[in-house]
Amino acid sequence: MNLRAFLPIVAVVAALACIPLVIDSNVVLNFLVTALLLTLAGQGWNVLGGYGGQYSFGHAAFFGTGAYATAILQMRYGLNAWAAFAAGIAAGAGVGAAIGALTFRSGLRGSYFALVTLAFAEVLRIIASVAPVTGAGVGILIKLDVGARALQFSSRAAFYWLILALVAIALVVTRLVEQSRFGAWLVAVRENEDAARALGVDATRVKLGAITISAAMAAAAGCFYAQYFLFVDAPIAYGPWISVEALLAPIIGGVGTVFGPLLGALLIKTLGEAAKLVTGDAPGLDLVVYGIVLIVVIAFAPRGVAGVVARCHARLLPPRKASAGVNAA
């Protein structure tokens, strides 16, 4: 394994970890927490959509399952918050594996895969908005119980370090996937599934592995959401907003790159805040901006911000040898 490939991750995470030591503004930290939350969900989408080429329009199914599992296990079954958090990630990964097993085994690709993931998220949303265990239309409140044991912190910085740690794990996992044989299979499936199968890649198993990792990351974001905001209901957990934002972040930042989701999440959250500053509290405008940015990026920078940076970098510093990796960022 090439350890040097992990140096940029260590550097970026270390730099981000220092921020609360310098800035103690709650507004800034809150902004960064939401951006990192989106990074985590986006990294999940990136593993499946970016590296695997399977565009999911329903990552809310995993995010919501993580969030609900964390809340329900604590409030209904009295489980410890840390255990509930871990169980939430496992539950999300399980839902991912189940949806993957159903869809990939029946050979759904492209438009069909996007549609069926969207439909699963919607089914879960409808069920969650009527089932008693999820609190139906009212949602679930997690009891305020500040302390490390209950995974609730009075300082924003502690939450920030928690989500940063999760993001760091996701970055390392993504880099590991990228460098492994599994990652090579996954990219081969993205580029040409039939050719990959012809070369002996078990495409269904590879995609199943990818959706499970992907769902675990999205679910971790959901678990964190529940712990941070201490409230979950159906439109939050399974609503289309998270499915859309989870795909926006990697696509805008640079699809199929390790740092793409982080870049994208910071960028779209900044744009969203800017849109809110301009228009006050009117709903909808931030999402209009996201939609426009999405189309502009696809039209003019298909490899996202990371692609633009790489291109400028290549122009400024001509590489000594031909760059082999697409995922140089």
Binding site: Y112, A114, P240, G284, G291, I295
Partner: protein, 289 residues
């Protein structure tokens, strides 16, 4: 259950189903030619419902007359969207087309939310609650008009596809894009015409829906998943499939509503959708993918 309850439920299901079929026709047409699911279809319906609403509220134009203005307007809008936004932005890559239509859906829905807030609006027309007795049932007049309108549009569309040169070009592009191009068909133009036709279907459906329905910025989402179900059920790209699928979904929804109640009736549709996608993704009338 007694026939006197069952029969009206089935008939009402058919009447609603005809409008589902009309919405699904637009979706299936675009899929058949561009081989891509238009995720903006539902929000285009929302936009058309708002247009029909304001035509009536602000200008006093009856929705049944507004259809003659909105249909060409939405055809042009759809044509422009494909020609100047979706086509150029997606560089011919299927995944990109999906994402661009999703982006358009997000933009349109939230622009409407921003402009009109989340309020639900309805129009008042004299015939809104009119009913006529047919064979012991009382049928809503606007829904009968909607049914008739959907049937007429489906027939017109079928005539257009089979008899006109444009129709032949559309079918040629759907069957074999490169071959059609080599025969001199302007493929980007045909793509845009198809997208325009799909959008026009939605405009007609909106005018037929608005007398008995409501409009808010999220209303299209309820219809779009039904339209997806309809299209998947009937077979992606199949016009007769969309019509039959629409009627079937309408009846199933009506019966599920009768037996299971409103909110669980909705789940019935989604479950049917997922089951069909998993076990027969080519649909009941579609060709094997």
């Amino acid at each position: 259950m007694h026939l006197s309850i069952l029969l009206p439920a089935v008939v009402n299901g058919v009447l609603t189903g005809a409008l589902y079929a009309l919405i699904a026709l637009g979706l299936t047409l675009v899929y058949g030619v561009l081989h891509i699911i238009n995720f903006a279809h539902g929000t285009l319906l929302t936009a058309a419902l708002f247009a029909a609403f304001f035509m009536q509220k602000s200008l006093g134009v009856d929705p049944y007359l507004a259809v003659f203005v909105l249909t060409p307007a939405f055809f042009t809008f759809g044509y422009g969207l494909q020609r100047f936004v979706i086509g150029p932005a997606s560089h011919g890559n299927d995944g990109n087309i999906l994402l661009v239509t999703l982006g358009l859906a997000v933009i349109i829905e939230n622009a409407l939310l921003f402009a009109f807030r989340g309020d639900t609006r309805t129009i008042d027309v004299a015939y809104g609650f009119a009913v006529i007795p047919v064979a012991g049932m009382f049928l809503s007049v606007p829904r009968l008009v909607g049914f008739a309108g959907a049937v007429v549009v489906a027939l017109l569309l079928w005539l257009l596809l089979t008899l006109t040169d444009t129709g032949k070009a559309i079918r040629a592009v759907a069957r074999e894009k490169l071959g059609a191009q080599l025969c001199g068909v302007d493929v980007p133009h045909i793509y845009a015409v198809t997208f325009g036709l799909g959008t026009a279907c939605v405009a007609i459906a909106a005018c037929l829906l608005i007398p008995t329905y409501y409009v808010n910025p999220g209303v299209g989402n309820a219809f779009v998943l039904i339209a997806f179900t309809t299209v998947v059920l009937g077979g992606m790209g199949s016009v007769p499939g969309a019509v039959l699928g629409g009627l079937f979904v309408g009846v199933v929804e009506s019966l599920c509503g009768l037996y299971l109640g409103e909110s669980l009736g909705q789940i019935g549709i989604f479950l049917m959708f997922i089951l069909v996608l998993l076990f027969r993704p080519s649909g009941l009338l579609g060709e094997r993918a």
